[in-house]
């Protein structure tokens, strides 16, 4: 078994973008609580095994509501990417220009995050892994950094 722990770092931008985080609810609490511990925890459908994100009350594949929380690795491949050249949020201003990747996780869903160590243009298929960024106000968000190897590497 791999250790699913993710590196937890301070937020790389300026100030605190905590106001942008989703409101904590009974439904998404397990996700954010896990993130605070450096773990990526996704809902896995009791009926069909589909791992889903964002947090949802029922499986988008089969409609069954029962699900268990599963720790997954946060490793994946770049599915697509863009680069912000215009600042929309003051907290991200010092990071300009920054790359946001859409990552196909090895464990199912796709997730977005800033590519924290982007050096030039990413390439579709590049291996990346998730890191957690801790906001000054205590919330957590995710970012990605370059990873190595295939499903069991990096």
């Amino acid at each position: 078994m791999r250790d699913p722990e993710l590196e937890v770092r301070p937020f790389a931008g300026a100030g605190d973008p905590g106001r942008l985080l989703p409101r904590r609810t009974r439904q998404n609490d397990a996700f954010f609580a896990a993130l605070a511990e450096g773990r990526l925890r996704l809902q896995r459908c009791d009926a069909c095994g589909h791992a889903r994100y964002p947090v949802a009350p029922a499986c988008p594949r089969c409609g069954v509501s029962g699900a268990r929380w599963d720790d997954v690795t946060g490793a994946g491949s770049v599915h697509s990417w863009i680069r912000y050249r215009k600042s929309y949020l003051p907290e991200f201003e010092p990071l300009m220009p920054y790359v946001v990747v859409c990552v196909q996780l090895d464990d199912g869903p796709r997730m977005f995050g800033r590519l924290a160590d982007a050096d030039g243009d990413p390439r579709i298929g590049d291996r990346v892994r998730m890191v957690v960024e801790r906001l000054p106000s205590g919330g957590h968000t995710i970012a990605f950094i370059a990873g190595k190897g295939g499903r069991d590497g990096g």
């Binding site: 994100y53 964002p54 988008p60 594949r61 409609g63 599915h79 697509s80 863009i82 680069r83 912000y84 050249r85 215009k86 220009p97 859409c102 196909q104 199912g108 869903p109 796709r110 997730m111 977005f112």
Partner: protein, 205 residues
């Protein structure tokens, strides 16, 4: 915007969110458009020639598809399945009794340039992934096989959430589009990447 845009103008415009440049983005405007919608029997003796609405469909939603969330059409997050557009199987064509090749001019939601390509693929004017090649050589210009957004659309005329397109469709089907007129036009379509669409004609169905 009225001045012709060159490839050089485009490449000189700054990136906003790469790969989209300023000239990939629509032009914000304040505007107003009014449309009078009534029954066929009432429209018949009006002074202005009516345009007929053959069929429409709304934004598609479901377990695997929600607004801005469809693989190939935007954010790509909901699932990792390969998704192919319905193309000519979109219900609006069946309801209107027409096929994509019957559409004489397409007017599509173009907040950003890629949405034009996605709409062409979604509604079956070309195969998935082929729109960028398909539009080459004036195919979607005036006099081409499928004139698209003849009034300039959001990208050039101004972003009025489709109302400018609707006004242009009415002008086109009435034969009142002047130098932008599509010759011999019978059927016009409004469509977006999210699946909503309206098909209009210049004569009663």
């Amino acid at each position: 915007m009225r001045a012709p845009m060159t490839q050089g103008d485009y490449e000189a415009s700054r990136f906003v969110v790469e790969p989209l440049r300023l000239l990939d983005c629509s032009v914000p405007v304040d505007t107003a458009v009014a449309i009078v919608l009534t029954r066929d029997d009432r429209a018949r003796d009006l002074r202005r020639r009516p345009v007929y609405l053959l069929a429409f469909q709304g934004i598609h939603a479901g377990p695997g598809e929600f607004i801005f969330g469809r693989p190939g059409l935007g954010i790509n997050q909901v699932d990792g399945d390969d998704w192919e557009p319905l193309g000519r199987e979109e219900p609006v064509f069946r309801r209107a009794g027409v096929a994509p090749e019957d559409v004489g001019t397409l007017h599509c939601y173009d907040g950003f340039t890629p949405q034009v390509l996605w709409t062409l693929e979604r509604f079956g004017f070309c195969r998935p992934g082929e729109a960028a090649d398909w539009v080459q050589g004036g195919r979607i210009g005036l006099g081409g096989e499928l004139p698209v957004n003849t009034s300039g659309g959001h990208l050039s005329e101004g972003h009025a959430n489709g109302w400018g397109h609707t006004l242009e469709i009415v002008r086109q089907l009435r034969g009142e589009a002047g130098e932008r007129q599509v010759d011999g036009l019978r059927v016009a379509q409004w469509a977006t990447t999210l699946g909503d669409s309206i098909i209009y004609a210049n004569a009663r169905p």
